[in-house]
């Protein structure tokens, strides 16, 4: 895979994580679905279940956000390498042209 393809693939993974960060909260079925609005003992159980769910969902969202940032850092790393390569290629081209312009150099 060439550098550009590598960067594209990395960005696709970062975007997947970014989408997950935005979309995961919408998966929450809500307190009522867990029975957290009920009266008495069953309501207490529902509230505990929902609190646990919410804490877990917040953790999933934070994980997606943090990992999207890490993956974007990877893309930057490849960009940095690509920049170095372009610079080296440019310098090599200049040297080649300079040598070609000099009389007596084939």
């Amino acid at each position: 895979m060439m550098l550009a393809g590598t960067v594209t693939a990395i960005h696709a993974t970062a975007d997947l994580l970014g989408d997950a960060e935005r979309r995961l909260p919408a998966v929450d079925p809500g307190a009522t679905a867990f029975g957290a609005r009920g009266l008495g003992l069953l309501g207490e159980v529902g509230q505990e279940a929902y609190r646990h769910w919410q804490a877990a969902m917040n953790a999933r969202v934070r994980e997606a956000r943090a990992h999207a940032a890490r993956v974007r850092d990877l893309a930057e790393l490849v960009d940095h390498a690509a920049g170095g390569f372009r610079e080296a290629q440019h310098s090599a081209g200049q040297i080649h042209r300079t040598l070609a312009d000099e009389p007596g150099v084939a």
């Binding site: 696709a12 009522t32 679905a33 309501g43 159980v45 790393l77 490849v78």
Partner: protein
Amino acid sequence: MDALAQLAPVAAPLLREVDTALLTLGAPPTHPVWRALGRVGATPADVVAFVADLEPARLRAAAEALRAQAAAYEQASLPLDAPWEGETARHYRAAAAAAHEHLAGDGASLAARLRAQASYVDSWAEWQQALRDDLARVLARAMTSSQAVTLRSQLARPTEVDGLPAAVQAAADIAVVLLGVAEDAAAAGRDVIRAAPDLDELPYRESLPSDPLAGSGPIRVE
């Protein structure tokens, strides 16, 4: 439509009668319904109405969505190889491998956490369905019980006080079995919470060279 969805509307008049009897006539002093009412904190009619409104399908849908997200993580194609050489390439390979492991590796990963959370919410869907089924069974028995007949007979003839003690006993008997379902379900619910998998945020473990951009080795692109 499950059994409770069918039974709850039909049982509503009897449940109102049970609640009314408890609230207006009370219950025999030593009847276990007093303790059950204290523990459950709701009347039989409230319990049935609450459980009838639970929709395990909503929780199953959430579990499905989490599994779909986990599958997307597992299918993500993060390039693990670097198409060039040098210090930066070595750093990239190490960082990409760590990032891939964290996302969807064989051990603890973000995909595994999503699947664990899906299992957790599925457990609650099963708990709700079991509660609905248990309550439907008990409710069906209560509706055809001799206590239901006794209670209805008395309420149909409110002026005949001779039948009152039997009606009070009947209402308490019906109430205690319905509240017993709620108590058992609450205990099972606490078990679900205790058995929940680790759903805390997964810490990231990276093993990287100190400075990824400090390398001065040659860059060779394939």
